[in-house]
């Protein structure tokens, strides 16, 4: 186990290194001079040359590359061109908000997906199973931004039940902890639902397949033959084993959720990383875009690592060894 962990960690670090490299070359592919926005009749060309020297842009590419890696590794992502603030501080403000939204979506989709998947598997080929199969396909195929607008139209504009944007109401801070909690909960319901619903559909399909596989196993037949009630067989014996392969899916869904958050945050004015990115692109604020890219990639790699570890911990049958290596 320790050996497996060490190897996965080294692999993850290697991936992070490759991603920093890709980021560096992307930036250098960009057409134009990074100092072009300082060109001005009032600014002497010598001043710009001085800046170039000071920023190290006149150094050989390989030297700039080494510097780039070193600063990224220390969490120094440069200065945002748009806000003239360190990118790291912008990230520190927006990452928790994105994580909150993603966590909400994650919880929602796991609960919905697992519940639907198990019911479908237990009542296989029933009307419920068929309807949920078709619904899953439908949900998987509709654009999230459109679903978001339709839900806003219905729940916020027509019925006035839920707020359509931002994380909390203005001036709610003074209203006490409980009121604030309820207010935030009301704000997160729509965005988290839209973000998680496609994953819930995928989850339901996987859960159904996994549960059907497990229900065909001998030990389930044994449990039934012993005379255990169906409920107990399903929940105690089948469910726990069917959950195993699904754990991996949760790890793999992370890039999907983070990618989806870009659109969702923009629609619901959620002050997270996705909105930061879109605004940065409109302003051509490269340092912010590349830093977000990097952070998201690290999150995804970390998520996969945790999923692998979780899987290994949950299933004692799994022993990670290299092919050809004896145990």
């Amino acid at each position: 186990m320790a050996r497996f962990l060490a190897r996965r960690l080294v692999q993850s670090l290697l991936l992070v290194f490759i991603i920093i490299t890709i980021n560096f070359f992307l930036l250098h592919l960009a057409p134009g001079d990074p100092l072009a926005r300082y060109y001005h009749p009032d600014i002497a060309p010598e001043t710009i040359e001085l800046m170039r020297e000071k920023l190290g842009l006149d150094r050989p590419l390989i030297e700039q590359y080494v510097k780039w890696i070193w600063s990224f590794a220390r969490g120094d992502f440069g200065i945002s061109l748009q806000y003239n603030r360190p990118v790291a501080s912008l990230l520190a403000e927006s990452i928790p908000n994105t994580l909150r939204l993603t966590a909400g979506a994650l919880m929602l989709y796991i609960i919905i997906g697992v519940a639907l998947g198990i019911t479908s598997a237990v009542k296989r080929y029933s009307l419920f199973d068929r309807v949920s199969t078709v619904a899953a396909l439908f949900v998987y195929s509709i654009p999230s931004f459109w679903l978001a607008l339709m839900l806003i139209l219905f729940f916020s504009l027509k019925l006035g039940l839920l707020p359509s944007s931002h994380m909390q109401s203005i001036g709610i801070e003074g209203a006490g902890h409980f009121a604030m909690f309820v207010d935030r909960l009301r704000h997160i319901v729509l965005p988290a639902f839209v973000l998680g619903v496609a994953s819930a559909a995928a989850m339901a399909r996987y859960m159904r397949g996994s549960m059907i596989d497990v229900l065909g196993e001998d030990y389930i037949r044994t449990a039934r033959a012993k005379g255990l009630p169906d409920r107990k067989v399903f929940l105690k014996h089948a469910f726990r084993n069917a959950l195993l392969p699904v754990v991996t899916i949760i790890g793999l869904s992370l890039p999907f959720l983070l990618g989806g958050s870009v659109v969702i945050e923009k629609i619901f004015s959620w002050p997270g990383m996705g909105r930061l990115t879109v605004d940065a692109i409109h302003a051509r604020d490269y340092p912010v875009v590349l830093a977000v890219n990097f952070i998201v990639a690290v999150m995804v790699i970390l998520g996969n690592l945790l999923a692998d570890i979780g899987y290994a911990c949950l299933d004692p049958r799994i022993v990670y060894t290299r092919v050809g290596e004896s145990k």
């Binding site: 991936l15 490759i18 396909l137 195929s141 459109w146 027509k158 890039p255 983070l258 870009v262 692109i281």
Partner: protein, 293 residues
């Protein structure tokens, strides 16, 4: 192609016709195929199906935000343009972009995957680590990064959608090639003195063709959604060209008073993606039963 039918063993009809008959028996798959086919017909015949111009502004402000009625069955938008006309012409953009982008990503992915799988060793390791790294970045972020660096245009969107989607195909093809590489007919070709290039292009890739086609069809839906998301964010197809994603975005200002502006393009996207997904699932079940879930 011959290798394909030969390796099918004792099957008398050949893989393609057997698969085709399986496909026809699947009602959902046929429905998907019909949807996809009709979409192409609509895209081609768009000028015949509507008298309205999708780009020119209407007689403002008289024809602005008209609700659905005769003459404008789906209403008009902020600029007095007929929503139906824009939805019909919008199919051209979605279908063209998704088809070309999938072609680019599938060709690039197949070449990388086949090279990695056939060459093995250090080439394989390096290529697959790059694939891993790129796959760790969510596609939309990868797209947005590239868009930030270049100026926007339709060809750029196509290239970027293609360039950010080849990794999964590369993995898939590599796996297939690894499985086929050790089979006898490849050894026979090698013994006959065929070069690496010839073996890869003539023997390995054709044998992974069904898997590639199925994967490509299933990927088109995702590409249409990605293009729509980009356009919705105002970072996709540039403005006057009618694109479904952009039309949904355009209706955001007047959601309550003019719900039809956002609703119908969204339905068009959903129908298209559902069509491709049904079609792709059907192809997979018919031609590649092993891959089925």
């Amino acid at each position: 192609m011959t290798a394909l039918t030969d390796s099918g063993g004792n099957e008398p009809r050949g893989l393609w016709s057997a698969g085709w008959s399986r496909f026809r028996k699947n009602r959902f798959a046929v429905a998907g195929a019909v949807i996809v086919l009709s979409l192409y017909i609509v895209a081609i015949l768009a000028p015949l199906l509507t008298p309205h111009d999708p780009i020119a502004h209407g007689d403002l402000p008289k024809t602005r935000y008209l609700s659905p009625r005769t003459g404008h069955p789906l209403g008009t938008d902020k600029f007095g343009r007929d929503v139906l006309a824009r939805v019909l012409y919008g199919s051209r953009i979605s279908l063209t972009i998704s088809f070309l982008a999938v072609a680019i990503s599938v060709i690039a992915g197949s070449l990388v995957g086949a090279t990695a799988g056939y060459a093995g060793g250090i080439v394989d390791t390096v290529l697959m680590r790059i694939v891993d790294a790129l796959m760790a970045i969510p596609r939309l972020f990868l797209l947005l990064t590239c868009i930030a660096l270049f100026s926007r245009s339709v060809p750029l969107i196509i290239i970027l959608l293609g360039a950010t989607g080849w990794m999964a195909t590369a993995r898939l093809v590599r796996g297939q090639v690894l499985a086929i590489r050790e089979q006898d007919f490849i050894k026979a070709a090698e013994a006959l003195g065929a070069g690496r290039r010839r073996i890869m292009l003539r023997h390995l890739l054709p044998n992974t063709l069904t898997v590639i086609i199925v994967a490509a069809t299933l990927r088109i839906g995702g590409i249409i959604l990605a293009e729509a998301s980009l356009s919705f964010l105002g970072l996709g197809v540039p403005s006057p060209i009618p694109s479904w994603g952009q039309m949904v975005f355009g209706g955001r200002d007047a959601l309550l008073d003019a719900w039809w502006v956002s609703t119908f393009p969204g339905i068009a996207i959903a129908v298209t993606v559902i069509g491709y997904n049904l079609f792709g699932d059907g192809l997979r079940d018919a031609f590649d039963p092993k891959q089925g879930a």
